[in-house]
Amino acid sequence: MDSTAFDLPGIDLSWCPGCGDFKILDSIKKALAELGLGPLDVVMVSGIGQAAKTPHYMKAHFFNGLHGRALSNATAIKAANPALEVIAVGGDGDMYGEGGNHFTHTIRRNPGITNLVFNNMVYGLTKGQASPTSPRGFRTSVQVDGVHAQPFNPLAAALVQGATFVARAFAGNGDQTKEIIKRAVRHKGYALVDIFQPCVSFNSVNTYKWFMDNTYTLEGHEEEDFGKAMELALLQEGPFPLGVLYRKEGVPLFEETLAAYRKDDRPLFRREAPRKAVKELLASLAG
C-alpha cells in the first residue's frame, strides 16, 4: 500500500507552518501503508486540540469526539468491532489533562488500540497556556509567574499502570517515528507513543533544536526490563531516550476477555436481538 492512499485531497490544514504535526501525520500515513493497512481498515479517533484535528487531515474512518474522551471512544469502537485498527490521537492537554482519568483506566483495561500523543508541552488551540507536561517555570499569559506544578510524566505513569507498550518518539525524526508507530500498531494491547513535537507558535523553549540537543536514540536496550524502562522514564532532565522503552507480550486484551465474544465472534453490529435469551430469562422469573 502506498502512503498516498491515506491522502485526503482538498483539505484546508489549520496547523501553523513548520508545526511538528505535519511530520507526525506523514509518519502515521507511511507507517500504516507499510503495515499493509488501507483507509477502510483504520479508525482514527481523537478529542480536541491541534493534534486532535489529525483524523480530518487523512483518508480513513474517523471519529473526532470531545476533549479528553478519545480513549473512551476508541476502547468502545474496538470492543464493538475488534477487527478494526483503532488509533487514538491527541495532544498532551487532551490525553493527559482533560482525559487523565481515561488515560489511567484505559491502560488498566489494555484494549488493543494505539495511543499517539503529540506532546508539545503547551496548549496550542487555546493559544499558549501551560499543559500538564510544561516544564516548571514555563511562563505563559496565564502562568504569569511560571508553572509551579510538577510536570506530568506520561511514560512513568503508563508503566506504573501496567501499560504493555511504552515508547517515545520525536516528530523531527520522521523515519524513526514511523518505525515506532508501526511497532505500536502491531503490538497486541494498549500501546502508548508519546511523541515530542515542537510548537513553533507558543513554545519557544522546547524547539526543534532543543529536542535534538536533548534526545538520543535507545540502543541495545532490553525492552522487557521493567526496572530499566522505569529508570529511563523517570529521567527528570535530558537527554531523553527515543524508542521503545518497554514492551510486554501476552497480557489479555480487554476485548478478548469480554463475555460478549465467548461464544460469538461477530462484531456487535452484525448481531440480532437476543430474543431467545430474553424469553428464557422471563421464564426463569416465572419460577
Binding site: I11, P39, L40, D41, V43, V45, I48, K53, P55, H56, K59, A60, H61, F62, F63, N64, G65, L66, G68, R69, S72, N73, A74, T75, A76, I77, A79, A80, N81, A83, L84, N101, H102, T104, H105, R109, L258, A259, A260, R262, K263, D264, P267, L268, F269, R270, R271, E272, A273, P274, R275, A277, V278, E280, L281, L282, A283, L285, A286, G287
Partner: protein, 579 residues
C-alpha cells in the same frame, strides 16, 4: 378479634421491617414467590436507608386475588424484626393493624400505638432453630401461617438457595415450621386468605422495574452497557453483567460517567446498540457526551433512575425531579425522546421503543424511572408482554458514502466503519455531510435544520398518554412515570364519574393529541414527585394549558394510594357521584 378487618378488604398488606442485614430481602423474595405459586397476586415495594448494616428498612407486600400494582399506606400485618422502627412506618399503623414482634427485642416499642401487638419470641425461637440468624425465617413462617400458604414453598426455596448446605436448609425449614404453627394458630384454619379466589395459571413472572428495563433493552438488541455504579440504577448494570454472554453484550463498569457515555457514543458509531444506566448525579456528568450523541447523530439510550437531589440528595430514596434535567441536559439544540414507564409491562415495551426511536432517528433517547419503580415488583403474564420489531441490520456503505447525507426527514442512511466500501466519519464540530469539520454559516444552518427535522417525525410517532376513566370527564388528573398505578387506584377509590386520569408514559416529545384532552377539561391537576411541578410546567409550555392545581411530593418517599386519594379529594371540584 385479630384480622377481622381483612374480611372485606380487597387485599392483605404485610410490612416487614428491621435493620439492614437481617435478611428481610430474602423473606420478601421467598414470600413473593410462594404467594404467586399459590395462585395469588403480589405487589412489593421496598424502602431502605443508605447503609449496609443497621438502620431500619421495610418492605411492603400486598396480596390479593386480582392484580395489585400500587403502593398503599394501610398496614394489616406488621412484622418488626428490630427496634427503632421509623416514623414513616409508625404513622401507617392503625387500630386494625396486627403487629408481630419480639417483646424482649423491641423493649416495649410498638405496644402503645393502639394496634394489636402479638409477642413472638423470635430470638429464643431462632436460637432453638439453630441461631439468631434464623429469626427472619421464623418471621417468614409466622406470615406464611397467618396467610395459610403452607410450608412446602419455603422448603423448596431453601433447598434451592442453600443447595449443598443441608444443615442450613434444615435449620431454615425448622425455623419456618415453628413460625408457621404459631401463625396458623392465630389466624385460624386455612389462614386469612381462606376462601379467596386463586388463579393458579396466569401471571407467574415476578418482575421489578430493574428487570423490566433490562429485559426491554435486551429484547431491543442492546449489546453494549457501560456504567458507573450509582443507586438506584445499578440493577440494570448487574442484570446485563450477569447475562452478558447470553445476551452477547459488552458490559463494562467504567471509571466515571464521562467514560460511560463516551464509550456508548463510540460503540454506537461502530454499530453497537448501547445503553448507559445512571442516576441524576451521574447523568449530570454525561451531559457533554449526550450533546455529542446529538451532533454525531449517535443512537444512544440512557436509563436515568431518579433519586432526590440536588447533588447527592437522598441516595436510596425516590423523586421525579430530573425531568427538566433529562429534557434540557446537553449544550446546543438536538432532538431527543423521553420515556417514563408507569408499569412493568410498559417499561419492557418503552425501553424497546427508546432503542427503536434512537436508532431510527439517530439521536439519544432516555428512559426515566426512579428508585421506587426500580425496586417495586409484581407478578404479570410474561406471554402478554409486547415485543417491537427486531432492529434492522446495518447496510453496507457505498464508496461515496456520506454519514450525514441531507435527507427530507433528516435521517441519513446509517453505516458503520468496517462494513462496505465507504469511509464513515463522525464529528463533534459542526460538519459537512461526510462528517468533516467545516466552518460555513450556510452549512451550519442546513445541518442544524437537518438534525432538528428529525424531531417532526419523532413528534408524529409520540405515544399518546393513557386515558383512564369516563370520556365525559370534566376534571382531569394528570401524572407521569411511576405514579401511574398509584393515581389510578386512588381515583378508583374516589369513584367519581366526572374525573379521568391522563397518564403520560412518553414525556417528550408530547403527543399533540394530548393538548385536545387538556383543553377539554374544566379542571386539571398534575400529580408529580417533585417540588416545582416540572411536568405541569412542560404541559403549559407545550400546550398553553396551565394546571389548576398541582399535587406534589418530595420528601423522598413515593406517593401512596391513600395520600393521592385524600389530596385529590380535597381539591377536585364538584361532587361527581363520589361514593
Amino acid at each position: 378479634m385479630l384480622f377481622s378487618s381483612l374480611k372485606d378488604s380487597r387485599d392483605v398488606c404485610c410490612v416487614l421491617c428491621g435493620a439492614a442485614g437481617l435478611g428481610i430481602q430474602t423473606v420478601e423474595d421467598m414470600l413473593a414467590g410462594i404467594i404467586v405459586d399459590e395462585g395469588f397476586s403480589v405487589f412489593g415495594s421496598r424502602e431502605y436507608m443508605s447503609r449496609v448494616r443497621g438502620g431500619n428498612n421495610s418492605t411492603e407486600l400486598r396480596i390479593a386475588s386480582e392484580p395489585v400494582d400500587a403502593l398503599i399506606d394501610r398496614i394489616d400485618i406488621l412484622v418488626a424484626l428490630s427496634r427503632k422502627v421509623r416514623r414513616n412506618i409508625l404513622e401507617r399503623i392503625s387500630s386494625d393493624t396486627v403487629i408481630f414482634g419480639d417483646r424482649e427485642e423491641l423493649k416495649g416499642e410498638l405496644e402503645d400505638l393502639g394496634a394489636s401487638f402479638v409477642d413472638i419470641p423470635l430470638s429464643s425461637m431462632a436460637k432453638e432453630a439453630g441461631g439468631r440468624i434464623y429469626s427472619n425465617s421464623i418471621a417468614a413462617g409466622v406470615l406464611l401461617g397467618v396467610l395459610g400458604l403452607g410450608t412446602k414453598g419455603a422448603e423448596d426455596f431453601y433447598m434451592k438457595r442453600f443447595a449443598g448446605k443441608d444443615g442450613v436448609v434444615a435449620s431454615n425449614i425448622g425455623a419456618v415450621t415453628r413460625g408457621y404453627e404459631l401463625g396458623l394458630a392465630m389466624a385460624g384454619e386455612g389462614g386469612v386468605l381462606k376462601g379467596r379466589p386463586r388463579n393458579p395459571k396466569g401471571r407467574k413472572a415476578i418482575i421489578n422495574g430493574s428487570d423490566a428495563v433490562s429485559l426491554g433493552a435486551m429484547a431491543a438488541g442492546c449489546n453494549f452497557v457501560t456504567a458507573y455504579p450509582m443507586s438506584p440504577a445499578t440493577g440494570v448494570l448487574s442484570f446485563f453483567a450477569k447475562h452478558a454472554e447470553k445476551a452477547g453484550a459488552v458490559v463494562e463498569q467504567v471509571e466515571d460517567e464521562l467514560a460511560a457515555m463516551n464509550m456508548a457514543v463510540g460503540a454506537a458509531y461502530a454499530g453497537a446498540r448501547p445503553l448507559v444506566t445512571t442516576s441524576g448525579g451521574g447523568f449530570a456528568l454525561m451531559a457533554e457526551g449526550l450533546s455529542l450523541a446529538g451532533v454525531m447523530e449517535a443512537p444512544v439510550v440512557v436509563h436515568l433512575a431518579q433519586r432526590p437531589g440536588p447533588a447527592t440528595g437522598m441516595a436510596t430514596r425516590t423523586e421525579q425531579a430530573d425531568l427538566d434535567l433529562a429534557l434540557y441536559s446537553g449544550h446546543g439544540e438536538f432532538p431527543r425522546a423521553l420515556y417514563a414507564p408507569g408499569t412493568m409491562e410498559s417499561a419492557f415495551r418503552l425501553t424497546q421503543e427508546a432503542f427503536e426511536i434512537a436508532l431510527k432517528y439517530q439521536t439519544p433517547a432516555i428512559v426515566l424511572t426512579d428508585q421506587y419503580f426500580m425496586n417495586a415488583f409484581y407478578n404479570l403474564d410474561a406471554d402478554g408482554l409486547e415485543w417491537l420489531d427486531e432492529p434492522p441490520s446495518v447496510r453496507e456503505t457505498e464508496e461515496d458514502y456520506r454519514r450525514y447525507e441531507d435527507t427530507p426527514d433528516g435521517c441519513s442512511p446509517f453505516g458503520v466503519p468496517g462494513w462496505g466500501k465507504g469511509i464513515v466519519g463522525a464529528d463533534s464540530h459542526e460538519h459537512d455531510e461526510v462528517g468533516h469539520v467545516y466552518e460555513d454559516f450556510d452549512l451550519r444552518t442546513r445541518m442544524q435544520d437537518k438534525r432538528m427535522r428529525k424531531f417532526a417525525g419523532m413528534e408524529e410517532r409520540a405515544l399518546p398518554p393513557v386515558l383512564v376513566g369516563p370520556e365525559s370527564f370534566s376534571n382531569l388528573v394528570i401524572c407521569w412515570g411511576s405514579t401511574f398505578p398509584i393515581v389510578r387506584e386512588a381515583l378508583e377509590c374516589l369513584g367519581r364519574d366526572d374525573t379521568a386520569l391522563l397518564a403520560f408514559e412518553q414525556v417528550w416529545p408530547l403527543a399533540p393529541s394530548a393538548g385536545d384532552l387538556l383543553r377539554k377539561a374544566s379542571f386539571t391537576a398534575v400529580v408529580e414527585g417533585n417540588s416545582t411541578g416540572q411536568f405541569a410546567g412542560l404541559l403549559r409550555k407545550t400546550f398553553g394549558v396551565a394546571a389548576d392545581r398541582t399535587v406534589l411530593k418530595y420528601n423522598g418517599l413515593q406517593f401512596s394510594v391513600e395520600e393521592v386519594a385524600d389530596r385529590l379529594g380535597e381539591i377536585l371540584p364538584g361532587k361527581g357521584g363520589g361514593r
